[in-house]
């Protein structure tokens, strides 16, 4: 099975996005799914034990090599600092992430301001996408988060989002 591990490592490295186990299975052929799973686990373990500059992470439903967070300052020297999201965009994103599928009017109501600008930015950055249209008068657009969102925020899937604290408290009152 050593060769399988090598192949997996190479595929994950070469991929530009997190590579899912399904996609790997497709690429590798009708290989035994269990074998792939166990090789992946071995790979994960190896990298963890290696304690090197890169880790193998499970994000966005797939696997991806990522630098260790402690080394961020160094890598930033190489890549420069990217423009980050504004608080407005982050709030809008949070609302969409937790309430998807959601229409713009709902987002506007929750934040108390028009979400048009942040929404456009989020769409451009591909963190948010149009899921469809709501079947009510006006047929407003419905929004949801993307796979890229999971990738950027280091989430395996949406269920990994922490629960909203205050809302829980409100319900309990």
């Amino acid at each position: 099975m050593e060769e399988l591990k090598m192949i997996l490592e190479a595929l994950i490295f070469a991929s530009e996005m997190p590579l899912s186990a399904e996609k790997i299975a497709q690429l590798v052929g009708e290989e035994d799914r269990k074998a792939i799973e166990s090789s992946l686990q071995e790979l994960l373990l190896e990298y963890r034990e290696r304690q090197g500059g890169i880790h193998l992470e499970e994000v966005a439903g797939g696997f991806q090599f990522r630098t260790r967070k402690e080394l961020a300052p160094w890598v930033r020297k190489l890549k420069g600092v990217k423009n980050s999201l504004t608080p407005a965009a982050m709030e809008t994103l949070a609302v969409i992430a937790y309430r998807q599928p959601v229409v713009k009017a709902e987002i506007d109501n929750i934040r108390g301001v028009d979400a048009g600008g942040p929404l456009k930015k989020l769409l451009e950055k591909k963190l948010v996408r149009i899921v469809g249209r709501k079947d009510v008068p006006g047929k407003p657009i419905i929004y949801g988060t993307t796979r890229k969102f999971l990738e950027v925020f280091s989430l395996k899937d949406l269920s990994e989002l922490p629960t909203l604290k205050e809302l829980k408290e409100l319900e309990e009152r």
Binding site: A94, G112, E166
Partner: protein, 243 residues
Amino acid sequence: MSYEIKLDVFEGPLDLLLYLIKKNKIDIYNIPIALITDQYLQYLEMLRSLNLDLAGEYLVLASTLIHIKSRMLLPADEESEAEEEGDPRLELVQQLIEYQSYKEAALGLDSRLLLERDVFARGLYVEAPAETEKDEEDIELSLFDLVASFQKIVSQMNKEELLEINGERMSLADCINEIMERLTKEQNLLFTDLLETLRDKRKIIYTLLAILELMKLRMIKAYQTGPFGVIRIILAVGGDGEG
């Protein structure tokens, strides 16, 4: 990238309200409406006196607060009415709490390990119009685009800051030379770079005229990274400038 001037401190009227509540150490489940309404209105006054355009939502919330305040002032009928109506603040409080939880959620998201900030992957990410030096998607601007953009910039400037015309003599030629000098030194400039430190209304107009003139003479070119993007000015290749 839109040319919006936003009050950086507050993300909207709800945010302002939360700020006031926190500042006054108020229990959000028992807001002294009169106090909060007054403070909120005071803030709006201040913002308006600074000549800042307020989003309509701020005014909507102002009237909501005043409405709630008036309802609270009505004599409380010990009998049925008060009980049926319930606390007039309730809806607002629920909205505030909900907004607050999403604000926290946003902070929570930001505190995660973010790709391209805290951790990095090997992949190539094609992001939306980034401000790169050589952006092949630049659209060459027409004169009309430039004028429209100029209008926007000037209208955003705080009118009080535009000083009266001072007696200094200046000519269009001077402005042209200044721009050419800066461009030769700095290779490329943002449209806003050229305008942002200018206070003299006449100088601003001259600068725009100078840019237009130089474009007409094909000595400079203006590029925009897509609609509503930043505008860059560069020397036209092969142009032999004067002095």
